[in-house]
């Protein structure tokens, strides 16, 4: 019986000693964590996309509770998450409009010219290092899918035409694609924006015409046609002001290249 008693005694004593140490340590080294931080972190999506500008969802939760970030700091979660967060904190959420990413380039494999055949690493940022990419247009989408690979919500897919496609349902406007794209082709716009010039080129019209069939020439016909004065020409590129645009469609009819498109009614 002796050895068994000793073994049980020794292990029991070790277990007891450790549990006492841990028990005491949990009191002595107790760090006060605001319980609301955990509650807020629970209602956040938990994708750790970083769209809010913080290191992760728990970081964002801490910032919200401390008042450093607004309750709708989580862009990815949208209105429903903002409401849930506001519910935890007992304040009301100001309704923010849902946003989505749009791809501001229509120069697909057929329409846009290429300077050379790129055969390097399958990443737009790598392609940018080789003579600034293979597209003749120095503003256009390189089509290697860096945005698709980096989207934390799987909302982007590469179309057969060599341009990424946005799934409006899945897109949370976290802005990751905007950050990773070396040419900043994706832009985050309000979901209700009715028309946009889907081009990023600031080249002069003559040059654009030579290298791309889907480029904005900066001709200004849309600006003249717009009854709401919602269109500005910025360095040979037409830019639609989402707040003024009513979606009347006057600009679509006038645009010679058809790059001013309705974002709401056509499938982009």
């Amino acid at each position: 019986m002796g050895p068994i008693v000793i073994a049980i005694g020794a292990m029991g004593a070790l277990g007891l000693a450790l549990s006492v140490i841990l028990g005491v340590a949990s009191k002595v080294f107790y760090v006060y964590v605001d319980p609301r931080i955990t509650q807020v972190a629970d209602v956040l999506p938990g994708a750790n996309c970083g769209g809010c500008g913080y290191a992760g969802c728990s970081d964002c939760a801490a910032a919200i509770v401390e008042g450093k970030a607004p309750v709708n700091a989580c862009k990815a979660g949208g209105a429903s998450v903002a409401e849930a967060v506001a519910g935890v904190l007992g304040v009301s959420a100001a309704a923010a409009e849902r946003e989505v990413a749009r791809i501001f380039c229509r120069g697909d494999n057929v329409k846009a010219e290429r300077k050379f055949k790129y055969m390097g690493i399958n990443d737009c940022r790598a392609a940018m290092l080789v003579s600034c990419g293979d597209k003749s247009c120095s503003y256009g989408c390189l089509g290697l899918g860096t945005c698709v690979a980096n989207c934390p919500f799987g909302a982007l897919s590469m179309g057969e035409d060599g341009l990424p496609k946005v799934d409006d349902e899945k897109c949370t406007a976290c802005g990751t694609c905007v950050k990773v794209c070396p040419r900043h082709i994706p832009k985050v716009v309000p979901v209700s924006q009715k028309a946009a010039s889907l081009c990023s080129s600031h080249d002069v019209g003559k040059l654009v015409k030579e290298i791309c069939e889907a480029g904005c020439l900066g001709c200004g016909l849309c600006k003249k046609a717009c009854p709401e004065k919602a269109i500005e020409i910025v360095k040979f590129l037409s830019v639609v002001d989402a707040k003024k645009c009513t979606g009347c469609g006057a600009c679509f009819e006038k645009c010679p290249t058809g790059i001013i498109q309705s974002l709401v009614f056509t499938v982009v």
């Binding site: 050895p3 292990m11 070790l14 450790l18 140490i21 949990s26 080294f29 399958n122 790598a126």
Partner: protein
Amino acid sequence: MEQSWFMFILSAIIINNILLIRFLGNCPFLGVTTAMDSALGMSAACIFVNVLSGVLCWIFQKAVLDTLGLEYLQTLAFILIIAGLVQFVEMVVQKVSPALYRALGIYLPLITTNCMIFGVAVLNIREDYDFMHTVVYSIATALGFSLAMVIMAGIRERMAIANIPKLLDGVPLGLITAGMIGLTFYGLAGIS
């Protein structure tokens, strides 16, 4: 202990590398080496815990298990000590240094079940090291672990942007890479 200290340390870091030759602690080797930052964090946390647990287990073995004739309870006792120790360290670090906790915090619970920590504690006893050798061996093996982690992370960061055939992408290529690094280290076996 006829070996010189130099050879002893070199052997623990490179020739008998804990990850690549003894194949202990391969879970973090494949798990957290996709980015250099996390590999470094995990390595730092491992060095810290490895030394503490190696020393504590050695003391417990000599003071309790050997004197009471309970050597057969070594596994059970060491696991208890390591698990308790990691919990304790986590609490202390969280209180004393929030900055360090943010850097190492997420890796500490992972270490509780790391084979390397337990393996080194057992090896210290099996090789019959004295106290100084236990301390040095624990540091050196953890350094060897860090070395392998950093090499692996460096290679995998490059592979992340490479064009890899679909059938090899991910874990298969990770294992092949680990095997090749292991072979390279195996070539140094003749030194000792």
